[in-house]
Symmetry: D2
Subunit: 330 residues, 4 copies
């Protein structure tokens, strides 16, 4: 249940109510909200004088629900705002590998009139014997690109030991598929004010996915976006299975902006253009596409990154699809 | 391996070769082909004088492979042909329920300038206590619509006890997700000359799916189309998970036309329009969409069928997407 | 809902009631039952005089439910009866390949004091270019073994074109994982009186699985056994994933005997002994284990069949486990 | 590749080799090992004089492979050692809730002659509005039980913000299904010397699971045990699907001890006894079973915990199964 308390309540009164209902206090645009478990369905008769309004839910998707806030949240990434008539195309390599590589990516972004750069510095590899990312040095290279070109920087936090550094350097903090249950990260993101791009775990139900977002929202950060990037199924010809039915569900039921990642879902560059067009046709707030100056030498995810020529062709074909669903690409 | 034998070979010589290589004889546009297991990788030195050419494969996707036939197969449904610059939108209710219902559907098809009508008569229900379809009476109603309006009729075979009746009445024989391993059906379809629309089982790998098509192709019917309609995954908010990554794989590797069914994948009408647009953006040969004059009273799949108003809105939005990928809708 | 009608009702009255409730008439040990959809929750006040008793259900698992019949069904396979204190171990090769091979298997069965022989004659292969089974000739070889040794013969029906032949020759009709939705087969099995061993499809929910059994039960054949043989999951190191949690569910909720097949689940001989012991520890009515005189030359499923030495070791280790859960192996 | 260097090499020489082969240095029982990616297949001709022996692998399961170390690792939990003829049954509630509750559990453990107590203090809940565990206070209660009764304490780390505290208080550090990709935790566990019980993520392949163990092993901690606790599949009647086929694979291919958790897999108490017996019949090093003095009031996982009476019955039935596979329960 979400309870909006009356404006004239003192801090003590609010705290007392929060304790009574076993609720988390969330401040949302000058309103004080108490968010308790969705198993709470009724408030006491006598309690109504302290309460402005309240919302009852079927499950713990509460602050994220369109029942609570019907319109899609407006999250700002540079001059772009979600929930309006633009769609953001965020590109870049899987990993920051060198300044030269990132400069080439920056040139591609500029050429195509885009505004955001993504690349990983702390790679959540499943093997200890693979490249683990450039770490802080990578973050510094990304920051340099921001200063030089004005791009928004999207980069990933892997675990809570370096979450503060990522929050400091990034414009959008990406929480990866393997980190999205990490309470240490979710709590740090809740305290931050930067936009959070929360990726769905490949074994994660939509319910759990949105509940992870609730950790951040109830922690006080209203700027959460969801990213579907493929789930694990029995099919092995593609790396994962992009769940657009799930996207339809999220769009219908939650107020969270949605960014789609066809690259990780497919795992092979040949399928990315068709899937990227399908993602754009879903009428979502943005796409995340892996692009590398020379995918054949990439230190991670070599098979799924587009080269620059392939991306230039793709972006041309995305514009009319975006237009067909009432969007402009930025 | 596929072996194309020299034109001057006698029937006896061809039969002898087929026996030698444990192969199925397939006649393909005046060529005699011998199709053996893909585990056969080499032919005897001395055998080359009887052989025009041969193709070696990694797995049993052979006649369906782009390695054998690079271009997408041209299958005719009325005046529409797959593999060209048109995309067919096939609509209709889950089940034939009455003449009035089918007449209303026919009016909707005509209104929108479409050419095909789909509806089931033999329903593969998972419960014996549900509506099982109108059977032959339904087929007759569909045939009546063909005569009256010139529509192509797409209808489903459930098991091999009535496969001959469906082949007789239908213009396109749909083999459903639960029937696609049925050798009785696959063999009957192989002997027929009508187009076959083979749906992927919800627990079926892409490999097995295409191998089912190989049963029909090697049976002598070259007119096979594939239909992705959602696979079963851990996610339960939607009925199935539409596998567009799999579609990208099929487009890249097989010469079989592809028709997509967003209705069964989603299971809920609210998600169908977004998904239908995404399917069209995948640049495929067609869509299959469930539409019912009044879904609330439908005898099967009530929740996922669009009403006519919803469909009229959807089709308007599909045209610009089709155009963006170089297609016209018929 | 299941309605047991009063014994004094005439055939006309029963038929009238069946029509009224849209029910299937099932005769069960001298009782006339009307089985309607589980969505029917109430009968009319005035109807009680015609009715002995009735059962209401949450879903279409009705005749198979322990709510209707609390004890496990007694199905006879030769002198063995399910639902008691014996467990049957049914062995044999994947496919009948030759008389010699089947004779070797028969010797192994006899040696170990077992009573049943399983082998397939109509193989539901996923590729048209693989061995498809010996067909009727195989059935005749199996029948010969029954005559010679008194074994019960368990063999599989692939599609409804040969279902009558399998019903005629077999002692237990196995309906395979790919055939279990086939209405043609399910209806023929419903009219038969022989025991049916229904295998779970690898993409089939427990709900659908039991509903397939309901087709046979409501068709009039009370002798249905369930066989779990692995479901398809994201894990590819084994061929399928044996679902023993599902077995726990079936044991708790249904009255259907359960036979487990560790061979198909694992797909590799090395894992079969451990899994067979785990299956026996689940306290079920029996096991199905693939054994071949020389797996390396088997025409199908070569990797998962035990050789005779391996089986002799396994069966020794199964006895104390069976004993620990109160069973004797036959 | 794993390279064992000659004993007479200086630290500088070892470091130079590690850099050359891009390898991690691991000290294993007085041997210096260099562990590099499995993509390294050959060493230079001239390098052999510095090398004692080396092992080549198909994939990044290296230190954990039976190819490197054929016998199961001996990990000590109190007086119990894995890889021998005992099996440990570790019980306790999902969460530490109060001293009284933990005392009742302790009494049950003592009564049944068991030696280990498990309970969670940092709960990895998927909703922010659920009970999150007692934290450090819970750890202190568990430590008290160790002092009082001599039990080994098994408790879970949720994220890297409190990993040091858990390592300090626990005898066995459990890394949960949602935390097993967490590099912060894995690295801290690699530096620790305590036994680590690594749970498989419910969306995690066996390959990734074992690679997570490689993070700990290559970090220098040889004491890693694996825990299968159910994977997420399409089946929803049970909470997860216990993957015993996967266990057969792990036993065959890795040298890591295995502990099985039937409680989380099933999610319902009624199925736990049958599954626990099946787990024991798999001949593994131990079981983890959730037991609560009164499951109906448990603050987490209420549905799956056995009460004490149920557990007393279960443990009686486990002894003969353990015996049948050559084990004693401790």
């Amino acid at each position: 249940m979400i309870i909006e308390v009356k404006r004239n309540l003192s801090e003590n009164e609010i705290n007392a109510l929060a304790e009574k209902y076993n609720a988390i206090i969330v401040t949302d645009r000058n309103r004080n909200l108490l968010v308790s478990s969705s198993s709470l369905k009724e408030i006491e008769e006598t309690g109504y004088e302290q309460i402005e309004q309240h919302w009852v839910f079927d499950n713990d998707m509460q602050l994220s629900s369109r029942k609570f806030m019907p319109q899609t949240r407006n999250v700002n990434i540079g001059s772009f705002t979600t929930g309006k008539d633009e769609s953001i195309v965020i590109i870049g390599p899987c990993s920051v590998e060198s300044e030269e590589q990132i400069e080439q990516t920056a040139a591609l972004i500029k050429e195509n009139g885009l505004t955001s750069l993504r690349a990983g510095c702390f790679k959540p590899r499943t093997s200890p014997y693979s490249f683990q990312g450039m770490g802080i040095d990578g973050l510094k290279l990304l920051a340099k690109m921001r200063e030089k070109y004005g791009f928004s920087i999207v980069t990933e936090v892997r675990d809570s030991t370096h979450v503060d550094a990522v929050i400091e350097y990034a414009d959008v903090v990406q929480v990866g598929a393997k980190a999205m249950y990490d309470h240490g990260i979710l709590r740090a993101c809740g305290k931050a004010r930067k936009p959070i791009l929360l990726k769905r775990g490949f074994g994660t139900t939509l319910q759990e996915f949105v509940q992870s977002a609730e950790f951040i929202l109830s922690g006080g950060n209203a700027n959460v976006m969801l990213c579907e990037r493929g789930i694990r199924t029995f099919e092995t010809k593609s790396r994962f299975t992009l769940d657009l039915c799930g996207v339809a569900y999220l769009k219908e039921n939650t107020n969270l902006p949605i960014i789609l990642d066809p690259s990780h879902a497919m795992g092979y560059a040949y399928g990315v253009p068709d899937l990227a067009r399908a993602c754009m046709a879903m009428n979502v707030d943005g796409l995340l596409i892996e692009v590398h100056p020379d995918p054949s030498v990439a230190k991670s995810d070599a098979s799924q990154q587009l080269n620059h020529t392939q991306f230039n062709e793709l972006i041309q074909s995305l514009h009319p699809i975006a237009k067909a669903v009432g969007r402009n690409i930025v």
